[in-house]
Structures are given as structure tokens and as C-alpha cells.
Amino acid sequence: MTSMSSIVLAASEHADVVPVAADGVFSWMWLLVAIPAVSAAILLIGDGAGDHGPLDRFGHLLGTAAAIASFVVGVVGFVALLGQDVAERAVTQDLWTWMQVGGFDVTMSVYYDQLSALFVLLITGVGSLIHVYSIGYMAHDPRKRRFFGFLNLFIAAMLVLVLAGDYLVLFLGWEGVGLASYLLIGFWQEKRSAAVAAKKAFIVNRVGDLGLALGIMLMFAQFGTTNIHEVGLNVTNASQSVATALGLLLLLGACGKSAQVPLQSWLLDAMEGPTPVSALIHAATMVTAGVYLVVRSAAIYDLSEVARTAVVIVGCVTLLFGAWIGCAKDDIKKALAGSTMSQIGYMMLAAGLGPAGYAFAIFHLITHGFFKANMFLGAGSVMHGMNDDVDMRHYGALRKLMPLTFITFAMGYLAIIGFPGFSGFFSKDRIIESAFATNFWAGLAALLGAGVTAFYMTRVMILTFFGERRWREDVHPHESPKIMTVPLIVLAALSVVGGALTFSDWIEDWLTPVTGSEHHELGVPAWVITLIIVAVVAVGASLAYVLFARRDVPDTAPQQVSVFTRAGRADLYGDAVNEAVFMRPGQYLTRSLVYVDGTGIDGAVTGTAELVGDGARGLRRLQTGFVRTYAAEIFGGALVLVLALLAVNLA
């Protein structure tokens, strides 16, 4: 008895979370997934009806309605959860047994707690807005219906991911979003670049999934279960090395999904997809799944210093890496993509700080979801007006012609660089603080990142909306239709006020039961750090102003540039490395294996056959047709036989 109680104590604070069986509203949470899933099925099977059925006229409405409906359910659930008292905010519902063999038992269960609730709101909320936006953006695409089908599919899969009560179910959603992302990146399949980008995304993600899958297997081998909650409990009994291994394997998975170094290379290519996709999947939601995974697995990371440190390092490297790329790109979407990488780097960094940082990771994740979605949609709106030209060097002075887009984009801009009072300010500030509190170098990296962020975002801002016009002749910029601007406005508003989540530490307290919490004391008072941050941001921004607002921007990217720029334009040679280390040797390997299979293994078989054939022809020649030869054979045989038998006796 004593031993057991001691184990209880040993377990970190997650141990006292006790999921309660779902009832009332919560027993309907599965609708969150079901609605978009069914809608997706309808829209995609609609294919059978050919491309001119009624679905093609109203399909997009159905898809949007599904997203909104599921958002409503999410809100209801969230309100209900607020109603619960803290001890009962982890609700679980077993739907059916997915697979059960021997001791291996995986249940399709909904696990709805504070963390999932926030994600549900983010996914369905931003998701709905982007559905609405897409109605306008994709208005003229012949395969519109399928597009909304894929979007719904994504929403459903993403919700499976965040509502999963079991790591394997999470993996189901995990690969589901991967599939959706594959389909949407390659939505314009007739563009070879799009198809290639889609394939690349899927395969790089698979490499990450390798880690996740192995992690799940290790859980089963160690604990005999893959239920997230039970793993969380059992891991406290596991050895240090097991926890570390799990942590690193999960991190590999996270890197894949969240485009963290070293698996970052796919994200920039992923911009081949339609802009709403980039906003929803590759900015707001899917790419943050890695952060979700780490936070969800807090119990594991709490037990392994090594794993946490790895997370921090990945975060720091990526946030600088992404920022660097962001500075060098002229393609507005790629610039934003770089920034996404870097922002997720922040989240990872925060998550790597352990209980001190989890909450802030999620906080930044949400605010980033708002302002980055906002900016991507803004970029989409710009492209919409510029005949889908993505080169910022062909923009300029758009603020007059696209006022709404400009305003909303500006809100997002201020938020991301962390202008005081805007959402990004609070979330990023928290992260940098706790980074400093934990490790000076991590803090420094984060701080530096903030400055660079300010620099490249200001650059984007200036190149796009200020300066003089550098448009092509046939381009007639115009503001986008309401259907597109309304979502922009909403998101802009959220980007501004999103910071409110942290007032009176609401979000920290809200998440504490899930993530635990602890507070490292800084050497200096918090406001000092804040001042430093603001100062650094100001420097970055003004530097950009000096470089891009004062001089006029060359229409084509100059070639005589610093190695830094060149490296940045080449995505810091990520692809080059992949090609040199994996692709070329791989191709060589397969080619040589094909050869070996043909000549070696199959050759051995056919070779034996030929050998026998030759032997046969040889023997055939013995049959000379001369009776005396035959007689000789008989005589010889007889002789040998006699001698052999005699030899037996004489021996």
C-alpha cells in the first residue's frame, strides 16, 4: 500500500487528472468529427455524378455549413466545459473498440479536455472563416466541390487528432491531415510543381511518422497500452532512458508535421497549394500539430531532461532558420511560410521549457493561428487582385486600392512583430521571458528571432503596400469581394484582441490541469525584458524601413547579394542536403538493386537451367548410335560393378 502511494507521489501532477465519462453535451462531441466527415464523403463521392451535378453548384455551401456546424458544436462544448468544475474538465467517451488483439486494445474514444477544447475552437473557428473565404477565392475553379470536400476531410482529420484519447487514434488523425494536406497542396495537379510538392510533403511527413509510429510501438512494448492517459500514468514508472527514447521519437514526428529542422524542407514547396490551404493547414492548424503532440505528451517530457533540451534546440534552430529564409524570399507566400516555420519554432521552444512553457506554447499557437491565417488570407486577397502574381517586387502602393486588405494585413503585421498591445506581443513576450528564465542562450535566440521577425515582416509590408507601384501592365489591382474580406476583418480583430486570453493568467490556469505549471524566477523584473524586446523589435523594423522604404526596389531580384541572402533564397540548402544525402544514393541503390535482381538472383535461376540444358546436350552425344559403343558401356559397367562388389569384400 505504502509503495503504491509512493508511486502516486512520484507521478507528476497529471496523475491527479481523472477523466470522467461523458454525459449530456459531452456525449455529442463525436459530432465535431462526424459532421465534416460525412460532408466530405458526400462531396467526394459526388464525383460519381460527373462534374455538373447539383453538388457542383451547392457543394461549397454544404462544406462551409458543415465547418460552421462543427464550430457551433465546439462552442457549445467549450461553454459546457467552462460550466464543469475544474476536477471534471477532462471528459472521455469510448465510441467503439478499434482493434483488440491479446493485450493490445485500442478504443476509438473522444478525449475532450481544456487543451482539446481550445484546439477545437481554433480549428473549427478559423476553419469556418477560411471556408467562407474560399467560396470567393475558388469561385471560378471547376473542381470547387472537390476542394471543399478536401477541406472538410482536413477539418475532420484534424479534430480526430486533437480529440484522440489514444496515441494510435491520434496517429489516425495525424496521417489523415497529412493526406488532406497532400491532396490540397496538389490540388492543381496539372501543375507538375504542385504534384511534386504534394508528394514531397507527404514523404517528408512519413519520415516524421516513422518516429511517431515507433514511439507508439515502444509505448505498447513498455506499458501494454497506447491510451494517452494511461501512458501518462505508467511512464512515471518507466526508466529514464525509456522516457528519453519516447520523447525523441515523438519529437521526430513533431518535426515532420511542424516543419521543424531537419524536416522543414517541405513547407516552402507546400505553398504551391491554393492560398486558403496555406492559411488553414500550413499556417494556422496542421503545422502546429507537432506542438500539440509535445504538449499532449507533457507527462513524458517532464521525465526526460534530454528530450526537453532536444525540443528546445530544435525550436531555437528553426525559429532562426525560418526567420532567415523569411528575410530572403521575394515570393510573398514563401516569406510568410518562412515566418510560420520560425513562429512554430517559438512554440517548440516554449514547449521544450516544460511546465513553465507549455501554456505559452499553446497561447502563441492560438494567437499565431489568428494573425498568420489573417496574413495569408490577406496575401491571397492581394494575389487575387494581382492576377495571382506572388512576387512582392511586382507589388507596391497597394494600400490605396486594397484598403480593407491593407488594414487587416497591418493588424496581423503588428501582431506578429509583437507591437505592444497586440496579441503577438503578449504571447511572444511570455515565451522569451520564460526562455531567459530557463536558459540564457535560448532566450537570446528567441530575442534575436523577434528582431529578425520585425525586419522581414516590415519588408513584406513595405514591398506590398507602400513605395511606388511596380505592377505589370495588364494588372488592375482591386479590392476583393465581401465574401473574402469579411473573414479578413474577423481574423484581424482576433489578432488584435487575442492577447486577452492571458489577462489574469487565464490561459495558464485553464491549462494547468493538463500541462502542470511552474514559474522560474528571472534575475531581473519582467518589465525589463519586455523593454528590451520592444527595443529589439523597433531596431529590426526601422532597419527594414531604411533598407526598403528609402531606396527604390529593383524589379527583379539582384544577383550580387550577400551569402546570407543567397543562402536564404536557397532555403539554406535544405533541399540540396536532402538530395545529396538521401535522394542520389537512394536512386543509385535502387538502380543497382534492380540490376542485381535481374542478373544476380534471377540469373542464378536461369543459369542453372542453362547448365542443366548443356549437360543434357552433352549426355545426348554419348548416344553415338554405334552398337559397339553401347556394348563397351555395358562391358565397362559390368567391370566396374564386379570390381566394386569385390572391393567391398577385399577391403
Binding site: G613, R620, E633, A638, V642, L646, V648
Partner: protein, 539 residues
């Protein structure tokens, strides 16, 4: 007229000659067949030419059927004996014959083959109303006399009595209980065959050459056989298998005589069963001889010779098993591999079948490595079953060969067989079934027979032989399958093979052999029972 009686005469000088007592009922099958043969000779002499052929057929068929019935009766009447080995029946006719289980089964088998053979001999519709045999063997090929004889539609109905003599010899061979008897039987079965080989109507040069080769080599090998007998006699002082076995197990000294004798006897027998290196005659003779004769010979000679071999080596030389077994093992291995490999390069159907018969001799020798007695699968039962299955398939296969013809008679070049599947699916399927049986594919008699010889050998501790056997079968498979591919998939050469429409005689042979092959594969139970009930040799 046997050794024992001779001794009796000399032993007590004054005493009157006592008549040898012979149980004629027991050996009636033998007598009936030989009787039919003699009758056949008389028919040749006295029946007018017009009716001769038919009469001969009648005599032969009636003789064979009667003999078969007699055999069944005799077999039913055999009484079980429990000596050191369990068996039934035993020596008769003053110990010169041993009418025991295996002997009776073999008789039945041989008579069955004989009947099928006769039916094939009697086929006259394939070649413009003439049989497969030359009109006058005495006339040189292509000579005016030959054409004249053909025009007169003269026919060699002697083949029937010859066949009967050969058949009688085979039956005698399989049941002879002393070496001298065996030698005589060997010659009685061989001499008619030598002649029959030379009687082909078409391609007479080849036919005559085959006859000569077979004759010279046969005589040559039987000389070895005889010399072996002489040495064994020198060792044991008697021809009786029983006496020899007692000598082998009890007597000291003179081993070399025994060993050399065994070796030479083995040579003679291995020649008959076409085992390497005494096989060389087989392809040439099988190809040159008239196909019906080849069929009869292939099935009959092998059966008789194998049973005789088992009898000598199990009964007489059983005591010296570990002296001869290794040699037999070695020869079995060589033969299996040689037959399997050599057949691959063949382009002539009849030669191909000849090589396959060599390979089968090897598998049968594997069967010799089994246990001599017991209630499971013994050597005897395995070999007997194998002989039935193989014989039926072989006769069937050669029967098919007689039907695939072109202007020059039978066309035996494999290339010309391409596309037979389209020309005559039934025939092609039948031939395929025989080939599959040779290859030992399940649900054919060949499978069960291979299975039982391997099982017997493994039981006798000769699993290495089984392994080699399996490898050899795999090699042989390659060839048989290639022929099947040829029959069904290869594009026919020119206008493809033509299939002559035979009389019911040949059809019935094909039908019967197919049926037997399938039944032995699907329901081998009864025959397996029979051969196992037959028990061991009784001396």
C-alpha cells in the same frame, strides 16, 4: 525339368523314375498363355490367310483373358504362410516356380499389359487398313517384293504368337524360383521381342537396326547374366533361390564367387530394366521398334525384370544385402539423374519416352532400398504399384504416339507435335495426363507410385536416395512441362500435326490407360491394399 528332379534321378540309382508332381492348376495361367502361343503357331500354319489375322487376334485375346481369369482364381486361392516373412502361396512344380503373392500380382499386371498390347497390335485402321507390321519381313525395304506383298495385303500375324511367347516368358521370369529357370525365361521373353522390333511397316531400316542392336546387346548382356549364374552356382552348388539364400547366410568362404556372380546377374537384369550404364539400347530400340511393340515392351519387360530382380536379390541374396545395396543405391542415383537430364535435350517423342523410362528405372531402384517385408509400404508393394501405374501410362503414351501421323506414318518429332492441343484437345489432354503421371503430379498414378517408393526407401533408412529422387523429379519436371507447353501454347509448325482416326481398339486402350492413371491417383486404396496383401516373396 529342374535341379531337384535331376538330383532325385542320380541319387537313388535303381529306384524307378518318379514322375515329378506338378500342381497344374496353380500354374495354369502360364500354361494357358504358352498354349495360346503354340496354338497361334498352328493357326499360322493351317488357317487360310484371309481369316488368319482375325483368328490370331481371337486366340490371343481369349488366351490372355482366360489366363487373367485363371490368375484371379489362383490368387484368390493362395493360402497365407507365416515364415520368417509373412506371405502367401509358395513354391510349386518341384520348387522351380514360386507362385506367391507378388508373382500372381505380377502375372495379372503382365496379362493386363499384354491385353492392351494385343489391342494395339490389332489396330488396322491407321495405315490404310493395314497393321503397323510389315507385310513380309523377309523382303528388303523399298524392294519390288515388298510393294508386291503390300499390294496383296499380306500381313504378319506372327506377331500375336510371338507376343504370347514373350508374355509367357515374362510371367515365367517373374515367378521362376531358380536361376536356371530365370535364364530360360529371360530368353523366352527376349527372343520374340528381338524379332517383333524388326517388323515395322514404315521406316523399316530403323526398325531392323533396332532389332539388331537389341538382339546383339541383349545376347551380350544375357551372357553376363549367365556367367553370373554360373558363379553363383559355383558358390552355392545349386540354382534354387532357397538353397542359395541358405548358403549365403550360412556358408563361409568363396565370397568372391558370390560377389562376382551377384554383380554379373545384376548386370543382366539392369540391362533389361534399362538402368544406367546398361541403358544405351533403350532410346534406339524404343524409337526404331513399331510403336505398339515399344508400348508392350516398355511396360512388360520392365515389370517382369524388376520383379525377378527383387526376387533374386531379396530371396537368394537377401543375406548379402549390405554387399549389393550400395551398388544399387549408386546405380539408382546415376540412373535417375541421367534419365532426367538426358531427356531434356530430346526432340523425338519416342526417344523422350525412352529416357523417361530410364529415369523411372532409377526411381524403381530407389524402391529397392526399402524393407523386404512388413505391413507398411515395403519395397515389393511399392515397386509393384509403381510398375502398374508406370506401365499403364507408358502404354497409353505410346498409343497416343501411334495416332499422331503425317504422310510418312507416325510423326514423332516433337516440333511437329506443337499445337496438338488445338488439333485434337482430347488426345492432347490424354497425353498431358500421362506426362503428368510420369512427372508424379498429384491425382495421377505416378504421384502415388513415386510417393510409395520414396516412402519405402525412407522407411528403409535410405533418405539420401529420397532427396536425390526429389531433385531428379524436379529436373524431369522441367522437361515434361516443356512438352505440355509445346502441346498447348506453341504455335503449330506449318499445317500442324494431323491426328488419324483410329478404330475403337486404340481408343479403348487410350481410354483404359487414362482411366487407370487417374483412378490410381485418386483412389489408389484398393490397389495399395492388394499389393500390400500380396506380402513378401515366398521361397
Amino acid at each position: 525339368m529342374s535341379a531337384v528332379s535331376v538330383q532325385a534321378i542320380v541319387g537313388a540309382a535303381p529306384s524307378p523314375i518318379e514322375a515329378p508332381d506338378v500342381d497344374y492348376a496353380t500354374i495354369s495361367p502360364l500354361l494357358i498363355i504358352l498354349g495360346a502361343a503354340v496354338l497361334g503357331v498352328l493357326v499360322e500354319a493351317f488357317v487360310p490367310r484371309a481369316y488368319r489375322f482375325v483368328t490370331q487376334i481371337a486366340v490371343a485375346v481369349v488366351g490372355v483373358v482366360a489366363a487373367f481369369v485363371a490368375t484371379v482364381v489362383v490368387g484368390a486361392g493362395l493360402d497365407t504362410v507365416d515364415g520368417e516373412v509373412t506371405g502367401r502361396g509358395g513354391p510349386t512344380a518341384m520348387g522351380s516356380l514360386s507362385v506367391d503373392g507378388p508373382a500372381v500380382v505380377t502375372w495379372a499386371m503382365l496379362l493386363f499389359f499384354g491385353l492392351l498390347g494385343v489391342l494395339l497390335f490389332a489396330e488396322r485402321r491407321l495405315d490404310g487398313g493395314l497393321s503397323a507390321f510389315t507385310s513380309q519381313a523377309s523382303t528388303p525395304p523399298g524392294s519390288a517384293d515388298e510393294r508386291h506383298a503390300t499390294r496383296l495385303r499380306i500381313e504378319h500375324s506372327e506377331v500375336f504368337p510371338l507376343a504370347m511367347f514373350a508374355l509367357g516368358g515374362m510371367m515365367f521370369f517373374a515367378s521362376a524360383n531358380d536361376l536356371l529357370g530365370m535364364f530360360v525365361a529371360l530368353e523366352v521373353l527376349s527372343l520374340p521381342l528381338y524379332l517383333m522390333c524388326g517388323l515395322a511397316r514404315r521406316r523399316r531400316l530403323l526398325s531392323q537396326e533396332a532389332a539388331m542392336k537389341y538382339f546383339l546387346l541383349g545376347a551380350f548382356s544375357s551372357a553376363f547374366f549367365l556367367y553370373g549364374i554360373a558363379m553363383v552356382y559355383g558358390y552355392a552348388g545349386s540354382f534354387g533361390l532357397a538353397e542359395i539364400s541358405t548358403a549365403v547366410s550360412s556358408q563361409i568362404g568363396g565370397q568372391n564367387l558370390l560377389l562376382a556372380g551377384m554383380a554379373l546377374i545384376l548386370v543382366g537384369l539392369l540391362f533389361k530394366v534399362a538402368a544406367v550404364p546398361f541403358h544405351a539400347w533403350t532410346p534406339d530400340v524404343y524409337q526404331g521398334a513399331p510403336t505398339p511393340v515399344t508400348a508392350f515392351m516398355a511396360a512388360g519387360t520392365k515389370a517382369a525384370a524388376f520383379v525377378a530382380m527383387l526376387r533374386i536379390f531379396f530371396v537368394a541374396f537377401g543375406g548379402a544385402r549390405w554387399d549389393w545395396a550400395p551398388a544399387v543405391w549408386a546405380i539408382a542415383i546415376i540412373t535417375m539423374l541421367f534419365g532426367a537430364i538426358a531427356s531434356i535435350a530430346q526432340t523425338d517423342v519416342k526417344r523422350m519416352l525412352a529416357y523417361s523410362s530410364i529415369a523411372h528405372a532409377g526411381f524403381l531402384l530407389v524402391g529397392m532400398a526399402g524393407l523386404t517385408s512388413g505391413d507398411g509400404v515395403t519395397s515389393v508393394s511399392a515397386v509393384l504399384f509403381y510398375l502398374v501405374a508406370y506401365g499403364a501410362a507408358a502404354i497409353g503414351a505410346f498409343a497416343v504416339v501411334t495416332l499422331v501421323r503425317d504422310a510418312g506414318g507416325e510423326t514423332t518429332h516433337l516440333g511437329r507435335w506443337a499445337g496438338l492441343g488445338k488439333e485434337s484437345p482430347v488426345l492432347a489432354v490424354a497425353f498431358t495426363i500421362f506426362l503428368l503421371s510420369f512427372a508424379g503430379i498429384p491425382l495421377t498414378g505416378g504421384f502415388i507410385s513415386k510417393w510409395s517408393v520414396f516412402a519405402a526407401a525412407w522407411d528403409g533408412g535410405a533418405w539420401p536416395l529420397v532427396v536425390v529422387g526429389v531433385v531428379a523429379s524436379a529436373l524431369a519436371l522441367f522437361f515434361y512441362i516443356r512438352v505440355v507447353v509445346l502441346l498447348f501454347f506453341a504455335p503449330p509448325q506449318g499445317d500442324g500435326p494431323t491426328v488419324a482416326v483410329p478404330s475403337p481398339l486404340t481408343w479403348s486402350v487410350v481410354a483404359i490407360t487414362v482411366a487407370v492413371t487417374i483412378v490410381l491417383g485418386v483412389l489408389p486404396g484398393p490397389l495399395l491394399d492388394l499389393v500390400q496383401q500380396a506380402g513378401a516373396f515366398v521361397r
